[in-house]
Amino acid sequence: MPAELVVDAHPLDPLLRADRLPHIWCPGCGLGPIMACYAQAILDSGIPRDNHVIVAGIGCTGRIPGYLNIDSFHTTHGRAIPFATGLKIGNPELEVTIISGDGDLFAIGGNHILHAARRNIDLNVICVNNFNYGMTGGQGGPTTPTGARTSTTPYGCFETPINMPWLAYALGAVLVARWSALHVRQLKNAISRAMEKQGFTFIEVLAPCPIGFGRPNDLGEGLDEMHLYQEECIVDHDVDLRQANIDLRQKQPIVLGNFVDIERPPFTTLPEQFRS
């Protein structure tokens, strides 16, 4: 009989609202490890916990703020970034992180990410990309790979998905990275780096969605989808981001890495600079 490991507490317990568990996510969902990476980055940040604020929009990912024991805001669909913009400018001491889904940030909220990045608002944006709208039951979205089946692309998606890192780079994000829910160490480090940086940072995280996306595309269980990402992913920090698009048909590798880390003056420092 295997020895039973009994622990009273997990190091991340203080970061969780235990009275809200169990969470609503499906077995095999990637959101748990992503939330844990963010929580660990908070602990490691050296920034007082009360100064950390999380903002999300709507969807499965939008539920992360509800499980974290920090000031947390669950806003309207697509509007996490402008809400966070008001929070950050209203109180520049806040360390504001947005965790939301691909549909929330790039479809209904697409306009806001363009302008927050362009303005270099000091926000950390973590986009969980599960290739579909999970909360509403597996519809296609702006990142659904060409050819993939969802409930609204029953013949296969014939649109071209957004290449998020390339877009974020083009808009001047000071940090751009892509990892998967499997790459917890690299993801946590990227989030920590984002918290250190002044300005608009962007991290895409690929996450399995066995119910919404895995099932209609015969990807198996959540673990199988993780394996797929493990096999298909290569790490190339220096990739030409034009080549960072994701196409599941071609057996083309999915490129992960810390692609961009540059300096640009953040929004809040600019008004004084221009008035003096």
Binding site: R17, T75, T76, I81, P82, F83, G86, L87, G90, L114
Partner: protein, 385 residues
């Protein structure tokens, strides 16, 4: 050396356009964050604040659209500062989504709508008063807003300050429903000394008191913590319980929505403001507001000269509606005339609270109402009653 304008309250007598008076009212009220998007006929408010706010260390940001503007002022409010936006009909339509978020999360902020002709792009440069029902019902679900209707640049200044105070006092997004005529009219604006600017702040949590985030006392208004206060609040647009946690079930939903409506309803008497003119002995009660109240006053005076006992009830607050004032007039007056630049919005409210004849003096927008149609309606009401 500090520039002479580098101060919050421009005490003195000015000749000022209404949209600028809104901006100066906001400055005097202590606005720290403005987010907006250019739109006729409200743009002058944003332009003035873009220049004025940095002078006092406050933040102006031009957002990418009105969805973002409305959302950003909610975020800033939770950061602990007074925040506002200014817009007109098409922008007000886009703001409805996050006005709803402000209502359910009880987030104080001020939204100024300088009304123009609609629907849609309508009359970008010309007046209307046709967003009255949109202000009440435009976002989905039940809620009770507060809305002020200025009739002059002076009131643009005064009512913007009132709006900030009501927003904070009742924890509710609060509207200033101006119109293009008032927004673009230049008149004398007297700005008092800074010590004379009324200020009502937000109710804040008392340290050590074990109240839940949305647990209210008999006022039904919960205290409001700010981000980084250490309360570790969860704020959600989902129906939530007193802890702020999602509670998407019929009972907590009824409890929450009933409370956010009742917190305004039980305070209606202290929120509602009207001006009564020549109503004491009036047979015909004219009801009007905003720029139209100015011509309604002329019509009432002219009717008096013709021997018709008319009077004016000017609505300063459009929401909550001055139901008691209409009921009181119902006992005295023989008929009502409602003068408004829309095809019948406030009139439907008046009709709810009187059994007397209610006549309409209105047009769809594009110009200030002249006294003649109101006088015609007064005469008709006088003959009929």
């Amino acid at each position: 050396m500090t520039s002479p304008t580098a101060q919050r309250v421009l005490t003195g007598t000015h000749f000022m356009v209404g949209d600028h008076a809104v901006a100066e009212g906001a400055m005097a009220a202590g606005v720290m964050f403005f987010a907006g998007y250019p739109i006729t006929p409200s743009t002058e408010t944003a332009e003035r604040l873009a220049r004025r706010m940095p002078e006092v260390g406050a933040h102006f940001i031009q957002m990418e659209d009105e969805l973002a503007s409305m959302c950003a002022i909610l975020g800033a409010s939770w950061a602990g500062v007074r925040s506002m936006t200014a817009t007109s009909g098409p922008g007000f339509s886009l703001m409805m989504e996050n006005i709803g978020l402000g209502m359910i999360t009880e987030t104080p902020c001020v939204v100024v709508n300088v009304q123009r002709g609609g629907p849609s792009t309508g009359l970008p440069t010309l007046t209307a008063q046709a967003d009255i029902m949109q202000a009440k019902w435009g976002s989905h679900g039940d809620y009770e807003p507060i809305a002020y209707a200025p009739s002059s640049p002076q009131e643009c200044f005064d009512f913007t300050i009132k709006a900030f105070n009501s927003a904070d006092r009742y924890r509710v997004p609060t509207f200033v429903l101006g119109d293009e005529i008032v927004g673009h009219m230049s008149e004398r604006v007297v700005i008092p000394d800074a010590s004379q600017i009324p200020y009502v702040g937000r109710k804040r949590p008392v340290p050590g008191e074990q109240r839940l985030l949305y647990e209210a006392d008999e006022s039904l208004i919960p205290a409001m913590p700010f981000a980084s206060d250490g309360y570790r609040v969860h704020v959600t647009g989902l129906t939530h319980d007193e802890r702020g946690y999602p509670a998407t079930l019929p009972e907590p939903h009824d409890r929450l929505v009933r409370r956010i409506c009742d917190k305004i309803r039980i305070h209606a008497d202290e929120i509602i403001e009207v001006e009564e003119w020549q109503l004491q002995d009036a047979d015909i009660a004219v009801v009007s507001f905003g720029s139209t109240a100015r011509t309604a006053r002329h019509a009432v005076a002219a009717a008096r000269q013709d021997g018709i006992k008319a009077g004016l009830l000017r609505l300063i607050t459009l929401w909550p509606f001055a139901e008691k004032h209409i009921r009181a007039l119902d006992k005295r007056a023989k008929a009502f005339v409602v003068a408004e630049v829309n095809l019948g919005q406030v009139v439907t409210q008046v009709e709810r609270f009187t059994a007397k004849p209610v006549l309409r003096a209105n047009h769809a927008g594009g110009r200030m109402m002249s006294p003649e149609p109101i006088m015609d309606a007064i005469r008709e009401a006088s003959h009929a009653s």
